[in-house]
């Protein structure tokens, strides 16, 4: 499981790859810590791009729930993007699709959450 990040305006896109299972969930949680710390102002968005995630277990889903709670408390938002078929089904089965905004792609998430930032990044 790996994470790479890029900032676009007030949004940070984290591209996550691999499996988030019982063995990797703690590492996933620790990797999120600095990004969550900075997701603390009005309009701050953390976009978790899951296009490269093959599987997420209940332990990984709990990490997401805690991340969303922390961001909300700080005035930020966590959204999901790019869930592929298996992970999308796991979200539906666990009802996490009712908790998180899930976008087809990171681009869609940025367009919905921070349209001006996306437009600026296009011009760059």
């Amino acid at each position: 499981m790996n994470i790479t990040d890029r900032r676009i305006g007030k949004a940070v896109v984290l591209e996550v790859t691999g499996r988030i299972d019982n063995d990797t969930s703690e590492a996933f949680r620790l990797l999120l810590v600095p990004f969550l710390r900075d997701c603390n102002g009005d309009g701050d968005r953390l976009v978790l791009d899951f296009a490269g995630v093959d599987y997420i277990s209940s332990v990984g889903l709990r990490v997401l729930m805690l991340a969303a709670k922390q961001a909300k408390k700080q005035g930020g938002t966590v959204v999901l993007a790019g869930l592929h078929s298996v992970v999308k089904e796991i979200f539906e089965i666990s009802r996490f699709n009712l908790v998180f905004q899930c976008f087809a792609s990171a681009r869609d998430a940025l367009a919905a959450a921070a349209p001006r930032a996306l437009a600026a990044s296009k011009g760059a």
Partner: protein, 318 residues
């Protein structure tokens, strides 16, 4: 071992109301329109083969009670929820009295004890009822619910001989031929899972348990307790999203965690149990279908895990 479910609903008994019954009838009549059903047998065939589970069944609404009947050993009753009333009513009509009843208690919350004042055999002199459990308050809880002003018949007026046997978790006991081991679970006031073994078969009864996902040792300990079980009866009251957010620390679990723990343990059959009283049959059937699907998409190289949802009246032979 035969496992018979007398009560499968959690927290509070419920009943199918008129609106829900009529919705099933409407669905069935519409599906039957144009068909020629000329006998009760043909109608039954139609119900069995043409209607989905929620259209042809109800999960029922009695609170937890299960009867385990091993061949050649005395039956064991798991919990005394409202479902035990039906079990007692059946036995009141049997000729082979007096009888001995062994009862194993997961915990003493109201939904798990409320059937006992309506358990007919408790009123019959000569019957012998042995109530086992890991809670020191076994006797106190049952006496208290029959004390004034809560019930008109005091516990001391029950004519059967009633004994209480305190068990120690982690220790293996022989209860009339069934090997029984308890394990502490996270639930308000504590609850205990039990592993029952008889004739090379293993049954796990693990209701009213919250599984703390942040602690991998907890998952490993439960996987070890469930190891290679032929059946795991599992608290699947909430969705995972609820269980880790608004209903965190409410002491219950989800279909998702049930599938994962059974996969870790190499168990053969997961039975979803302790259904949420606010859910109708369609909602519980969806939780069941979701668990079946989760098992399929996460199975990998493992042997298939059978997934069922318990309903009042269900019987399964292990």
């Amino acid at each position: 071992m035969r496992v018979r479910f007398w009560g499968t609903r959690g927290s509070l008994p419920v009943a199918l109301d008129t609106a829900a019954l009529q919705a099933k009838l409407v669905e069935a009549l519409l599906k039957a329109s144009g068909k020629s059903l000329r006998s009760a047998a043909e109608a039954r065939q139609f119900i069995e083969h043409e209607l989905d589970f929620a259209g042809s069944h109800t999960f029922g609404g009695a609170s937890p009670c299960i009867e385990v009947e091993p061949p050649g050993a005395a039956p064991l009753i798991l919990d005394l929820g409202s479902g035990v009333r039906g079990l007692g009513a059946r036995d009141m009509g049997r000729a082979d009295r007096p009888r001995t009843y062994n009862v194993l208690m997961s915990h003493m919350h109201w939904d798990h004890i409320m059937g006992f004042p309506f358990f007919g055999p408790a009123y019959v002199a000569g019957n012998h009822i042995r109530i086992y459990g890991c809670h020191a308050e076994l006797e106190h809880a049952l006496r208290r619910q029959q004390a004034p002003p809560s019930f008109p018949v005091a516990f001391d007026r029950l004519s059967a001989r009633i004994e209480f046997v305190l068990l120690e978790p982690g220790r293996r006991y022989d209860i009339d031929g069934i090997a029984v081991t308890g394990m502490l679970q996270a639930h308000s006031g504590d609850s205990y899972a039990y592993r029952l073994e008889h004739g090379g078969r293993a049954l796990i009864y693990a209701t009213d348990s919250e599984h703390k996902l942040e602690d991998p040792r907890e998952s490993e300990a439960f996987a070890a307790f469930f190891r290679d079980a032929d059946m795991v009866i599992f608290d699947a009251m909430y969705s995972l999203a609820e269980a880790v957010s608004v209903k965190e620390d409410w002491g219950h679990s989800s279909n998702v965690v049930g599938v994962e723990l059974c996969q870790l343990a190499g168990a053969k059959h997961l039975v979803l149990f302790h259904h949420e009283p606010a859910f109708d049959d369609a909602a519980i059937a969806r939780i069941w279908r979701d668990a079946v699907r989760l098992e399929e998409i996460t199975r990998g190289e493992r042997a298939p895990l059978r997934v069922s949802a318990a309903y009042d009246g269900l019987e399964i032979d292990l």
